[in-house]
């Protein structure tokens, strides 16, 4: 039993019981971040803020949303969008944030790849981040079902169909997932549960793990330099702030983060109020109708690259390719055989690999949306093959990389 003395004030009282000063030091003022970073290092904070926006707007939407195939569409488009004061605002914020969060996730991921922030002790940061990406994907997909519009219904139909595993024709599995032969009430209810309970819980837990994974290997920096955090933080605390290679998480790093967040939010709210079409597909403003297939069925933009890896191949080959594409990024720390932690532009062939991958992902994204006809089909097939060629090449080009 610890010794408790009569508290000199509230802070002391709390300190004796919760060690709030210690916690503050560990979490903020003496959580050390490298100084040599650019605005891309603020994407974690941007993501945390965007997740906060999703959580808050989601709570408000949850007060009026009705998970029922008869009333879901109208509860979103009439009750929330028209009757409830500022309901439209929460819905626009929620829909736009759900789309923009993926833009930031992709920037965050590509930053990690470019600067080599996934290896030499940082593997768990990468893997927990990839788990977050997958969970966010499931969260986005399940949320997309809820307005019960045409795209909700048909995307639900197409994606759950994938679980029949092509020629294996595991239709029982598909029915088990849907709770019915086609998407219906059981389907909507379970995706509602996933969207508002199970997946958010998983995301919050994974965010905790992701942050914890940063503790021991520390945040990477622009030059991949190995910093002695003990020495540098001592330098900082002794007063040589300018000479130290590290800064406090709060307020040093935080002040820069918040500036980036403020610019991001301005962009975000511009989209929310005036340019939301990319995140709220017009087709989904038609109520779900199992008898009318929309002329073009496509997923939201952030799933297009993997959708395009599925599409140009035959049924079974496409499914295998799709399955590999979903998990291949997890393996990045192990397929990269080089010990160098450095920005891609100093890593020779890896720089070419990186920019080819970026361009290829963009080409796949574009072709995933376009109708699979003529030249688009060919370009999509080539881009999908290039995607796999790049992953096969990665161990070889990194193995022969010169040590920096």
């Amino acid at each position: 039993m610890a010794k408790f003395t009569k508290a000199t004030g509230l802070k002391d009282w709390l300190n004796q019981r919760l060690a709030i000063e210690k916690v503050e030091k560990v979490m903020a003022s003496e959580y050390w971040i490298p100084k040599n970073i650019n605005f891309l290092w603020a994407m974690g904070m941007v993501l945390a803020i965007t997740f906060g926006l999703l959580l808050i707007s989601g709570i408000f939407l949850l007060m009026y949303y009705q998970p029922n195939v008869e009333t879901a569409f109208d509860s979103v488009n009439y009750t929330i969008m028209q009757e409830v004061g500022f309901g439209w605002l929460w819905r626009h914020v929620h829909a736009v944030a759900a789309s923009v969060v993926f833009l930031i996730i992709y920037i965050h991921m590509l930053t990690g790849i470019y600067y080599g922030s996934y290896k030499k002790g940082r593997e768990m940061i990468w893997i927990s981040g990839m788990l977050l990406f997958v969970t966010f994907s499931a969260e986005a997909f399940s949320g997309y079902m809820l307005p019960w519009g045409q795209m909700s219904y048909w995307a639900g139909m197409v994606i759950t169909n994938l679980f029949s595993a092509g020629s294996l024709e595991l239709n029982g599995v598909v029915e088990w997932i849907r709770g019915d032969y086609v998407p219906g009430q059981a389907f909507l209810n379970r995706f509602f549960m996933l969207h508002v309970l199970l997946l958010p819980l998983a995301i919050i837990a994974l965010i905790g793990i992701h942050f914890a994974a940063l503790r021991i290997p520390h945040v990477n920096n622009q030059d991949g330099e190995e910093i002695d955090f003990e020495v540098e933080s001592k330098k900082y605390l002794d007063g040589d702030k300018a000479g130290s290679k590290v800064i406090r998480f709060a307020n040093d790093f935080m002040s820069k983060d918040m500036f980036v967040v403020s610019v991001f939010l301005m962009f975000f709210f511009y989209l929310t109020f005036w340019n939301y079409g990319f995140a709220m597909d017009p087709v989904n403003f038609d109520p779900a109708d199992g008898l009318v297939t929309p002329a073009h069925i496509y997923p939201e933009w952030y799933f297009l690259w993997s959708y395009e890896i599925l599409r140009p191949f035959s049924k079974d080959l496409g499914l295998i390719a799709f399955a590999i594409a979903q998990v291949i990024f997890f393996l990045l720390p192990f397929l990269d055989r080089s010990d160098n932690v450095a920005p891609a532009n100093r890593r020779g062939a890896f720089a070419i690999w990186f920019w080819l991958m970026v361009v290829d992902l963009i080409v796949l994204t574009a072709m995933g949306k376009l109708p699979p006809e003529g030249a688009f089909n060919t370009i999509g097939l080539v881009a999908a093959l290039v995607f796999f060629a790049l992953w096969i090449a990665l161990p070889f080009i990194t193995k022969s990389e010169k040590k920096l």
Binding site: K35, N38, F39, L40, D74, N77, Y78, M81, Q82, F86, W88, L89, H92, L103, I107, K241, A242, I247, N251, D252, S255, K256, M258, F259, V261, S262, V263, L265, M266, F269, Y270, T272, F273, W274, G277, F278, M280, P282, V283, N284, F285, D286, P287, A295, H296, W301, L304, V358, I362, T365, A366, K369, L370, P371
Partner: protein, 353 residues
């Protein structure tokens, strides 16, 4: 700083490129742009559609002939299609030339009243009896809602003017077909229209509600405005009265479904699902966006079209003005947020450099 701006420009450039590819470019590929021609009706788009069909048949014929062993039977059928299409094209040309010629005549409202009473009131009256599922509309507002060329065409040949003649090629005929034999001379036509225009309310008296209800609302429900094809649904105290209304509504829907082949959709969210431009082009000539649809051309003039759009905005996107206003406040707030965040960062980092 310079380096950060360079990195930012790379990130922005790739993001914008992706956006452009998946939004403007992809949607341009999926939905070819159709111009709104200002709600003048001269048959240009009608004839162009047949031209497209002729071009397609020609291509099919050439493809068949290029085969090693051309199928004579198939070629014969394509030939028949070609002849039918060419006849149709000729008929449309003649029809719209006639409309143009008649439009040059001056109408006499007083003389038109007689033609109207003799030729129109047999069906267009207060009895509102359904004909093949469709209730003939009250024509009080028609002189103000619809464009004159369209009305001329409609009296001359309803199926042609509505550009739904493809539906009536063999056995069925347009339920307003009989007008051809009731209002026969060119003078009768323009006089009748002059009369309709003389009894119509002034443009400024026609509200978006009236424009929509008369031009579109006889086939389309708009549940977010409580509109049904049999009128605005009242609030009922007695559940039985409400059920009686609902049954009447269902009967009317069944009638229209039987006639159109498909229940015309509820238009509550069309302003968000299709957008104003699409709806305008669709009202002008549904066939140019949805070839083969049973939806007739509406024939509204530019003023009425604007009112129909206003009605649909009120139904599906009534918060647009509030959105713009709140958006501006948020933008102003964000400018201050950015300034304060920037100053804070500057202050903290002064010692760190």
């Amino acid at each position: 700083m310079k380096k950060e701006l360079f990195i930012l420009s790379v990130v922005v450039a790739f993001s914008l490129l992706t956006y452009w590819l998946v939004e403007p470019f992809a949607h341009g590929q999926m939905h070819p742009h159709v111009d709104v021609k200002g709600f003048v009706y001269n048959g240009a788009s009608d004839i162009k559609e047949v031209d497209n069909k002729i071009a397609k048949i020609r291509k099919d014929i050439e493809a068949e002939k290029a085969q090693e062993k051309p199928d004579a039977k198939k070629l014969g059928m394509l030939d028949d299609d070609m002849k039918a299409a060419e006849t149709r094209r000729e008929a449309k040309k003649v029809f719209w030339n006639d409309v143009e010629r008649i439009a040059a005549l001056e109408g006499d409202a007083a003389a038109g009243e007689a033609s109207y009473n003799a030729g129109c009131t047999g069906c267009h009256n207060d009895a509102a009896l359904p004909m093949e599922g469709v209730i003939p509309p009250d024509l009080k507002t028609s002189g103000a809602l619809y464009e004159r060329h369209y009305l001329i065409g409609l009296i001359k040949d309803p199926a042609m003017a509505s550009n739904v003649d493809h539906k009536f090629s063999i056995v069925r005929h347009h339920q307003m077909e009989s007008v051809k034999y009731m209002v026969t001379t060119d003078e009768d036509i323009v006089n009748t229209i002059a009369y309709l225009q003389s009894i119509a309310p002034k443009q400024e008296e026609i509200t978006p509600d009236i424009a929509f209800e008369d031009a579109c609302g006889r086939c389309h429900d708009v549940r977010y405005k409580n509109w049904t094809i049999i009128g605005t649904k009242p609030t009922f105290k007695d559940r039985r009265d409400e059920m009686a209304f609902d049954i009447k509504h269902l009967d009317a829907q069944e009638g229209i479904t039987g006639y159109m082949g498909k229940l015309p959709p509820d238009l509550s969210m069309y302003i968000r699902s299709r957008g104003a431009h699409y709806i305008e082009a669709f009202m002008e000539d549904p066939q140019q966006l949805l070839l083969g649809t049973s939806m007739p051309r509406v024939g509204v003039n530019a003023e009425s079209a604007e009112k129909v759009i206003a009605y649909l905005e009120e139904a599906g996107d009534p918060k647009a003005a509030e959105r713009n206003r709140v958006g501006m406040y948020v933008m102003i707030y964000m400018v201050f947020f950015i300034i304060v965040a920037f100053l804070w960062k500057k202050q903290i980092w002064r010692d760190l450099h």
